[in-house]
């Protein structure tokens, strides 16, 4: 049992409907406890499909996912998802959005007062205590995503699944949030699987970068170990030769060997 990986994605294949060509084909990935893994690839290669299979939102046509010794069969709070478009419930305040998840997932282990404390603690973790009584349409995109992350972490997940969490944000907000996620990862030691199409983001945040080939029939093309020490500082890394090399390796994979099919034809 000790040798078993924390999150074990084995031979996952996903095909939709009667299509003979699968979207994802034979994805094999083992993630250790506390590891930060990014999945990168061109649009439409099935990155999000892979995340949805791990989340249990989408059944795999073949293969399976085992998390901490248990097979994944349906969605659950042990695999909390931060959705690309935040997915906060607009009729609830920031506090209530997190509280709903806390009440729903931790009501057996925590008393009412403890659930309130835990909700406040997670608001503080993503630095949103000041806006706890605001509704999602009253706060900025970056703040919404922070609440989304706070909500996911409040479920005490075994693995945090991030589906292009910073994709819709401007560059400055994105950098700010990346730093916060790094800090939270360092503090809590959460296992993270992140979908992204941003090379810098993948290199900055990850321990390993999983590169998918173009879909359909996408496979794992290459896995890059990012050997950068933590904590990482984005300013210092800009000139770091290991950062530059890792970045170059991912760019080389995405733009040379596996260029986007639509763009290559044009």
């Amino acid at each position: 049992m000790a040798m078993q990986p924390f999150l074990d994605i084995s031979d996952v294949t996903v095909a939709f409907g009667r299509s003979r060509v699968p979207v994802l084909n034979g994805i094999d990935l083992k993630v250790a406890r506390g590891e930060y893994v990014s999945v990168i690839g061109h649009s439409g290669c099935g990155k999000s499909t892979l995340l949805n299979v791990v989340a249990g939102l989408l059944p795999a046509s073949g293969g399976g996912v085992v998390l901490d010794g248990k097979e994944v069969s349906d969605p659950g709070p042990d695999r909390a998802v931060v959705f690309q478009n935040h997915s906060l419930l607009p009729w609830l305040t920031c506090y209530e959005n997190i509280r709903l998840a806390v009440d729903q997932t931790l009501s057996k282990s925590l008393s009412r007062a403890e659930r309130h404390e835990w909700t406040m603690e997670n608001l503080a973790l993503v630095r949103m205590t000041h806006a706890k009584d605001r509704r999602p349409n009253e706060i900025s995109g970056g703040m919404k995503q922070r609440i989304g992350i706070g909500r996911a972490l409040a479920m005490k997940p075994k693995v945090l699944l991030l589906d292009e969490p910073f994709g819709a944000l401007d560059a400055l907000t994105r950098a700010h949030l990346q730093d916060q996620v790094m800090a939270i990862h360092a503090e809590l030691g959460t296992t993270v699987m992140m979908i992204t199409h941003d090379v810098d983001e993948a290199v900055l945040l990850s321990d390993r970068i999983v590169m998918l080939t173009n879909g359909p029939n996408a496979r794992i093309g290459e896995i890059l170990e990012v050997g950068l020490a933590r904590p990482r500082d984005r300013l210092a890394l800009v000139a770091d030769p290991r950062f530059i090399a890792a970045r170059a390796a991912v760019l080389e994979f995405l733009h040379h060997r596996h260029a986007a099919p639509g763009l290559a034809a044009a």
């Binding site: 989340a55 939102l57 959705f83 997915s87 419930l89 729903q104 479920m155």
Partner: protein
């Protein structure tokens, strides 16, 4: 944070701040302005239309009374809506109250049944396939066409009128609720799945609030149709009620009374619509537009 707003010790504070004396002079006019901008134009239009009406209806061949004659004829009706001389000789308030009571019962019935059926056909494809074509046909039947059938079935005026209100207003509620349920974003369903929200809690905490803006649109259309239907139905069934009041006034050639009653009907209909919009705004916590 405090460090950033430090000012040099030597600098006098009056230099960095605007003179406070200019503030109050601006506020009074500026505060009233938005209200004036909203109230004055419709008021001006109403006055202009009244003036036009007065001129047109004062001619020798005029068939309808001008505003001045309406005021003279129906003065009692306008200033005292609360008198009650027994029988049908009551102030407009009592007639409106009787009509509103019928609407309240009929509309409450159609709201409950409409939302329930809407939730059903919004969730179940089978129910939608079975019921939707029938609803699409039935909803085009005009309210008054139901009245003879409903009188035959209930053999009494009151339940017949309530049934007509129900059958008129239930369709938009059903259809909007169903559309609302079908349009609940997949993201919300995914969130519910991840936190394992199921059964009644899923309906209560995700589906209903997410569909609430649509439901309230249906309720708002429904309450408007109820009001249209009750006036027409009351003209035929008689008794106390604003619809019969209008019909009664026509039979006794009190055109001025009819005009006053129409103004009241319009204002009450407007109030009902705004009330429903306000309820929607409060219940959906601002996610429904007013």
């Amino acid at each position: 944070m405090n460090a950033t707003v430090q000012t040099p010790v030597a600098a006098p504070p009056s230099v960095t701040r605007p003179a406070p004396s200019s503030m109050p002079a601006l506020t009074l006019g500026a505060r009233l302005r938005p209200y004036a901008e909203r109230v004055l134009p419709p008021l001006a239009v109403v006055l202009a239309l009244m003036g036009l009406w007065e001129v047109v209806a004062s001619g020798p061949g005029a068939t309808l009374p001008p505003p001045s004659k309406v005021w003279a004829d129906a003065h009692d009706l306008i200033v005292d809506p609360f008198f009650d001389r027994g029988g049908l000789d009551k102030g407009l308030f009592w007639h409106l109250l009787a009509s509103l009571q019928r609407v309240a019962v009929g509309f409450a019935l159609s709201a409950v049944i409409g939302i329930a059926v809407g939730l059903l056909i919004g969730t179940s494809k089978l129910a939608m396939r079975g019921l939707d074509p029938i609803f699409q046909v039935l909803r085009t039947v005009p309210p008054l066409a139901w009245l003879p059938l409903s009188l035959a079935a209930f053999r009494e005026a009151q339940p017949s009128a309530i049934f007509v209100i129900f059958i008129t207003s239930v369709w938009p509620i059903i259809i909007n609720t169903a559309v609302g349920v079908r349009n609940v974003p997949a993201d919300y369903r995914n969130v519910a799945a991840v936190i394992r929200l199921r059964g009644p809690a899923y309906w209560w905490r995700i589906i209903l609030p997410a569909a609430a803006p649509y439901i309230f649109t249906g309720l708002r259309i429904g309450v408007g149709l109820s009001w249209l239907a009750i006036i027409a139905a009351e003209m035929l069934i008689g008794g106390v009620g604003i619809g019969f009041f209008i019909w009664d006034a026509w039979n006794s050639s009190n055109l001025s009374d009819i005009i006053v009653a129409l103004a009241y009907v319009g204002l009450v209909g407007f109030a009902l619509d705004r009330l429903m919009a306000l309820a929607g705004h409060l219940v959906t916590r601002g996610t429904a537009t007013v």
